[in-house]
Symmetry: C2
Subunit: 393 residues, 2 copies
């Protein structure tokens, strides 16, 4: 099918996400040595400017590695053999956290939640009371990329701290930079994220924010580690704003530009834009009579999972790709073939939402001839216009 | 001092190294999802084309991380608690290999060589005979970045295999892509490298080449690991040319262009160019009466260490930076203040060598008024011209 699209490709996966032109240009700055003053200034600037985005009082530590390396860092620096940990599993990435904990010898208590739902606070409360062991850490996923839910981290943190002495450790990979977070108020001890989601960068940079309590635990943790040893990163940063090992210089240049972009737009404005994108994509899809996989209340503002009837998720995903050069993600693990997922975080505007909705309208016609042209885009455009009107009043 | 240099900066550190414009452009290609066909084709292409550069029969595995993550991967996948290992320590990076082995619980036998010298084969032979234990692996550094020596890997491999059943594991970080290597003939089981040296990329991509023998050991190794577990990378690659965790897509795009550049020049031509650069830089520096830290025979074609008299290394380094915007590296650990190091690998031509030599000539005048203008550049230019003449005959 001739798509008339100049062979352009449109990326709507929940990571990697599109990279802004100015971030690309920033990454292309001349390479610098990582043991000089210029790099130290760069690192300090980025680590400090990322802190408010992570709701952290401390500068954010940077490791060359992908999102999973951030998760492993959060585990390997605090968990020792036979420690009891609770992992809230709301999807594939909660499962990954649990697998990493097991790989590092923990006794993992999986609090399994039906995929597509968040972990309600009272469920965690009951679970912690029930297992009745000394828990070293509770692991939670802020946005579960595989299902598109946004867990109530603040309440989960409150329960963790009320009932246990455990560390509260949060995977923020697919939402940090797009959602509010406050490590102190929400009682998060370790918050990790990756570069290729709401932070508008290529994959390859891992972010770790830790509070003072976590620092103490990390200092005494005996688990074997070297590259991911946060003591090394913290002391290099404290000493001379450097990294213990060669840093991902070009990505850190890019991160500096991302901080600049977020500050220019205003972080609260970014968060609000993400809420609008969520509203537009969900209202639009509902107008197409496609069932949402997640309720409005549970849904993340960064990724939206759709569960079309009759198992047509795979076909729709393929039509979007083949006919309109739009890439969305399929379902993972037990959701394979059941859902497709639209990423709408980071470098994403309301116009981009109209693009994916328009592609969906046309793909549904291609699928079975149903004429829904304009149904989703009309309602999404109205939602956008109303939002602008309401906020400018 | 007004350097008349348009505020341009000239990077001559032994990593990171300058990035070719066309590699930057390649890295700026639109982001793609890492679970699609396009990425699989990219990964297969890059892994396969890197194989001859690593002298590997198998496609090279790629991990998002820096050079040290490659070293850790080589350790964590084969070494178990209390294993005896021999680490040939010719400088700071041999020391790092030893430290990683210790962090993972090995009994480390350090074969300490005077810094600035290579490990002569007979020294390894005597050492292995002397320690008289069952050695799980022998670790060697091909180019020791901290001193600029190039160890005789082929002979060290031969001795390792003749005297032991150990794996022979080689750190090729600061030379692979600039020097010959043949994993089969040289009996190397694991060869690792990083992106930011001779491979002309920003830091953040780790390369691991393994042979069939190593694969078997890796399969049964019980050491706790997750992100660096090579079984996961190998099986994802074998299954569908993917990675188990989000790959560093932009750097892999860049690696594809680097393979293209190396193939266009011809890998044997690259190796020859590196030899010429070594000759030019060394003859030039000798013409300035600056003492070399390493003998011609022991020296690497990728990095050259200079040990000026009267401890002026730090001053010369500073003058190069302040007056001519040239960044070289200082000495590490026990060589701090004793030497400076010039990186000349990857995206480096004979003209670049004339640049650093010219900067040196002027810095020596700035240092103490000695007039050596043209001494180094003249002889280096002659060496270049003679080389061209000889090879075109």
């Amino acid at each position: 099918m001739k798509s008339m699209l100049l062979n352009q490709q449109y990326l709507f996966t929940p990571g990697p996400t599109p990279i802004p032109e100015r971030v690309k240009l920033a990454m292309n700055q001349p390479m610098i040595g990582h043991r000089g003053q210029a790099f130290s200034q760069l690192l300090e600037d980025v680590s400090t400017r990322l802190a408010p985005i992570f709701g952290s009082k401390n500068p954010v530590l940077l490791i060359a590695g992908s999102g999973t390396s951030a998760l492993e860092t959060a585990v390997a620096n605090v968990i020792e053999d036979n420690d009891h940990v609770v992992v809230i599993v709301t999807g594939a990435f909660g499962e990954r956290f649990a697998n990493i904990c097991e790989a590092f010898g923990a006794n993992v208590h999986r609090l399994n939640i039906e995929w597509g739902k968040t972990c309600a606070p009272e469920i965690l409360e009951d679970y912690i009371k029930k297992i009745d062991v000394d828990v070293k850490a509770v692991f939670a996923t802020y946005c579960e990329t595989s299902t598109g839910v946004l867990n109530p981290i603040r309440q989960l943190g409150e329960i963790t701290k009320r009932l246990t002495d455990a560390l509260f450790i949060v995977d923020g990979v697919s939402c940090i930079g797009a959602v509010p977070v406050d490590m102190e108020e929400w009682e998060i001890d370790i918050l990790v994220s990756g570069s290729q989601k709401a932070l508008m960068l290529p994959p390859g940079l891992a972010f770790i924010a830790i509070n003072e309590h976590a620092k103490k635990v990390i200092k005494t943790c005996k688990t074997k580690r070297f590259y991911f040893d946060l003591n090394r990163y913290q002391s290099s940063f404290d000493k001379d704003k450097s990294t213990p090992f060669t840093p991902a210089v070009s990505l850190i240049y890019g991160a500096q530009e991302v901080c600049q972009m977020i500050e220019e737009e205003g972080f609260s404005q970014v968060i609000e834009r993400q809420q609008l994108l969520k509203k537009m994509v969900r209202e639009g899809i509902k107008a197409l009579d496609l069932p949402m996989f997640v309720s409005d209340e549970d849904a993340s503002p960064t990724v939206t999972a759709v569960k079309p009837m009759n198992g047509t998720a795979g076909q729709i995903k393929k039509l979007l790709q083949d006919n309109y050069s739009i890439t969305v993600a399929g379902g993972q693990k037990k959701l394979k073939g059941e859902i497709f997922r639209i990423g709408h975080m980071g470098y994403c505007t309301p116009f981009d939402i109209l693009k994916i909705l328009s592609g969906l309208e046309m793909s549904l016609y291609d699928l079975d001839g149903r004429k829904v042209f304009g149904n989703a885009t009309t309602i999404a455009e109205e939602a956008w216009r109303n939002h602008v009107q309401n906020t400018s009043n």
